[in-house]
């Protein structure tokens, strides 16, 4: 059941948001007794990709009113593991698909056709599952048929180079969506076995035509740096997808051009997502003891485009400290929003500042931090105006005279 949402017929050629989301946890051919290398590269079953893919799709559908263009199609292909199915929190079984290369080719072709109807459309591709790397720049996504032992090693796989190239505008598809986002939530390890072969071709999604200017904004987010692993918590979503959803729901918020309907002028852009992801990923890494690092390829023109509107000012993790540090025993601090605060009501009123440094959240905005010093402490407060922008801000109030 790949189509979770399909309003293509109703929306016709109007701009729309088209998503293709694949999550493969249960690789049928990795369940067999371990065959000799190389057919399965020593890979094992996974327990996070399907639930990750489901949560990404669910988020899109839940937040559809806040996407910059209407969510028109959402194709979801899941092959959940027993662990994910047993958890039972989400309807993964109902969305189960074979996720073999033939099915992926069919869905990808339909997705591309939908995306080709209006240049102002947007696309999202999310793959969670096993991945490998053959050379410095590529990323190969292993599909469910991987390891069945028929044809070349990577017959049941697709790669990012072919995926992105085939989504470019061409004479045949001049109205291809110009804003495209790709997330490959998979390892990028480079098995030594590849060095044995003259070539390790992967399956292709499509033939690639090259004939007109490629003016897409098409960032490609890899959830691992070349040669490294991606991380997940067993039975839960991947570490990267947690950070991504935190960013999309405000952790990468910015003040942007207001919408025509007068809703708050806050949104997440491609640039702000790229800039804020490291902070959220680091925090989640600390929480789980993981070492996920992501890499972004591409972007450029159009990076300021909003990809998700926010319904209120996003929250910022703010750390406040007094300098010198000993001053926090002798001073309280008021933090007051400078705009839209007619009563000058403090957002924070800390007396004393304990713990020090003090950490908390403030809505994005401009603030004045001022200290109240208990005499005869030898400190002077000059007030400090600061701008809190996601994901985090550190305020250091100098109190030396």
């Amino acid at each position: 059941m790949p189509l979770l949402l399909n309003e293509a017929a109703e929306r016709g050629d109007a701009p729309g948001f088209h998503a293709l989301i694949i999550g493969i946890s249960a690789y049928p051919h990795l369940s067999q007794p371990t065959p000799p290398e190389p057919p399965t590269l020593g890979l094992r079953q996974l327990s996070s990709p399907a639930i990750t893919a489901y949560r990404i799709a669910n988020w899109l559908i839940t937040r559809r009113a806040y996407l910059p263009v209407p969510l028109t199609t959402c194709r979801v292909m899941l092959l959940p593991s027993a662990v994910e199915l047993a958890a039972g929190g989400e309807p993964l079984a109902a969305l189960r698909d074979e996720c073999a290369r033939t099915q992926v080719l069919v869905e990808a072709a339909a997705w591309r056709a939908d995306a080709s109807r209006n240049a102002d459309s947007m696309t999202l591709f999310y793959f969670a599952g096993h991945g490998v790397q053959r050379n410095q720049r590529d990323h190969v996504m292993l599909l469910a048929g991987f390891g069945r032992g028929i044809g070349p090693l990577l017959e049941d796989a697709i790669d990012t180079t072919n995926l992105l190239a085939g989504m470019a505008p061409t004479t045949a598809r001049p109205k291809m969506a110009r804003t495209q986002m790709y997330f490959i939530d998979a390892c990028r390890v480079r098995p030594k076995v590849f060095a044995r072969y003259e070539d390790s071709p992967s399956g292709k999604l499509w033939d690639v035509e090259v004939d007109i200017v490629d003016d897409r904004t098409a960032p490609l987010f890899h959830t691992a740096v070349p040669g490294a692993k991606a991380y997940a918590v067993k039975g839960k979503q991947t570490v990267f997808s947690q950070a991504l959803l935190e960013c999309l729901t405000g952790g990468a918020g910015r003040e942007v051009e207001p919408r025509a309907d007068g809703t708050p002028p806050y949104g997440v852009t491609i640039n702000s997502l790229r800039e804020s992801l490291p902070y959220h990923l680091d925090r989640i890494n600390r929480e789980h003891g993981t070492r996920a690092r992501f890499e972004v390829q591409g972007g450029g023109y159009g990076g300021q485009r909003v990809i998700h509107w926010l319904d209120s000012p996003p929250l910022v993790d703010v750390t406040l400290e007094l300098h010198p540090s000993e001053a926090h025993h002798h001073a309280g601090v008021r933090v007051v929003a400078l705009n839209d605060n007619p009563d000058n009501r403090p957002s924070w009123d800390l007396a004393p500042v304990i713990p020090h440094p003090y950490c908390g959240s403030l809505p994005m905005g401009i603030y004045l931090a001022s200290a109240r010093i208990e005499p005869p402490a030898p400190y002077v407060d000059n007030g400090l105006a600061f701008s809190a922008i996601p994901p985090n801000h550190r305020v250091r109030i100098p109190l030396l005279g």
């Binding site: 480079r190 200017v213 640039n271 023109y301 550190r394």
Partner: protein, 352 residues
């Protein structure tokens, strides 16, 4: 224009680049200027060797060797000249001696992908610089079909080692144009991309950076360049009525490139809404030290004024006779690359 732009960026590196964590240690310059470039700026004929294949291979080898002794190193490669695109992530750059008739057609050319891949961490260069910036200031028009087979043979700059090492580089590629598109320059001046790049490095891509001691610095970083450079080029291209868009490739991971001497100047536009209120609007802008940074009537539409990046309080007064109420003071954050202030006036409340 390519040689002149490379020379100007070289001068910037020598005289303005500031990164205490990675001070300028080596700077290699190869130039093949045109006669008109030499006429306009005679010193560029003296300062560098020609960008032939041999010179390029020699300097690239030495450059990689120098970059390979410490992961904290930073490398910059700026290439401008003629190029063809083999595919989206690979340009074939033609050296000065391209077309000398010796050997295969593209013997005197190099592949950008080969350079990028050859600069990755690997067994024999595991300590290579992890911050690498590539600026490919060239057109990306594709080779015609009939030339495809000949395009298979540019000269290799590096052998690329098969490695299982993780590649955590911040190795960003700034392409001057979209795939399939031309790159432009000013007649008798720099390239459009080079001009925008220099403006960004001089503050147009500045951003505030919190320091370990709690202070702040203004820096140009990979992310701030990735945000500002496409906007600068887009603005210049729009004014010149040409199509040129910066595209970013490689690994766009954050890293500080350059420390600015202070808050960079920011062009500020101020728009009064409704426009009819413009003539009776007076604006004062104060910085956080309560110093008046700007006072006057809003600039005409399309005009701008300059403020150092920072936090400001804006006070708008309406002069009589007026039908508009005086808005409340507001605080704004002014940051590069540009800032637009909208002053929205509402009808004055009717007299009771």
């Amino acid at each position: 224009m390519a040689a002149e732009t490379a020379f100007v960026l070289y001068r910037w590196l020598l005289t303005e680049y500031n990164n205490p964590a990675a001070p300028l240690t080596t700077c290699r310059l190869l130039l093949s200027p045109t006669e008109s470039e030499i006429s306009a700026r005679p010193e560029i004929a003296e300062v560098a060797e020609a960008c032939t294949l041999d010179h390029f291979l020699r300097d690239s080898t030495e450059w990689r060797r120098d970059a390979s002794d410490d992961n904290a190193n930073v490398t910059v490669l700026y290439l401008a000249g003629h190029a063809l695109e083999r595919h989206r992530e690979e340009q074939i750059v033609l050296m000065e001696d391209f077309g000398d008739g010796i050997g295969p057609l593209l013997r005197n050319s190099i592949s950008t992908a080969n350079i990028f891949n050859g600069m990755a961490p690997a067994g024999r260069q595991r300590n290579i610089a992890l911050t690498q910036l590539y600026f490919f200031d060239m057109g990306r028009t594709r080779a015609v079909e009939s030339a495809r087979t000949e395009l298979m043979s540019p000269s290799l700059v590096f052998d690329v080692e098969f490695s299982n090492l993780a590649d955590p580089r911040s190795a960003v590629i700034f392409y001057a144009s979209s795939s399939g598109q031309m790159a432009y320059g000013y007649s008798g001046g720099p390239t459009l991309f080079g001009d925008a790049l220099l403006a960004c490095l001089r503050g147009g891509a500045g951003r505030r950076e919190e320091q370990a001691d709690g202070g702040e610095a203004w820096v140009v970083s990979v992310h701030s360049l990735a945000r500002a450079l496409p906007m600068y080029v887009d603005r210049i291209a729009a004014a010149a009525e040409i199509e040129q868009r910066v595209v970013i490739g490689g690994s766009v991971n954050e890293a500080i490139v350059h420390y600015l001497p202070g808050p960079p100047p920011v062009e500020v536009a101020l728009r009064v809404d409704p426009a009819a209120a413009h003539a009776c609007t007076w604006v004062k802008i104060w910085n956080t030290a309560d110093e008046l940074a700007f006072e006057g009537r809003p600039p005409a539409p399309g005009d701008t004024f300059t403020l150092p990046a920072g936090v400001y309080r804006i006070v708008v007064e309406t002069t009589a006779p007026t039908a508009w109420a005086t808005p409340k003071p507001r605080w704004i954050v002014v940051e590069p690359p540009e800032h637009s202030i909208k002053v929205a006036l509402t009808d004055a409340a009717p007299a009771q």
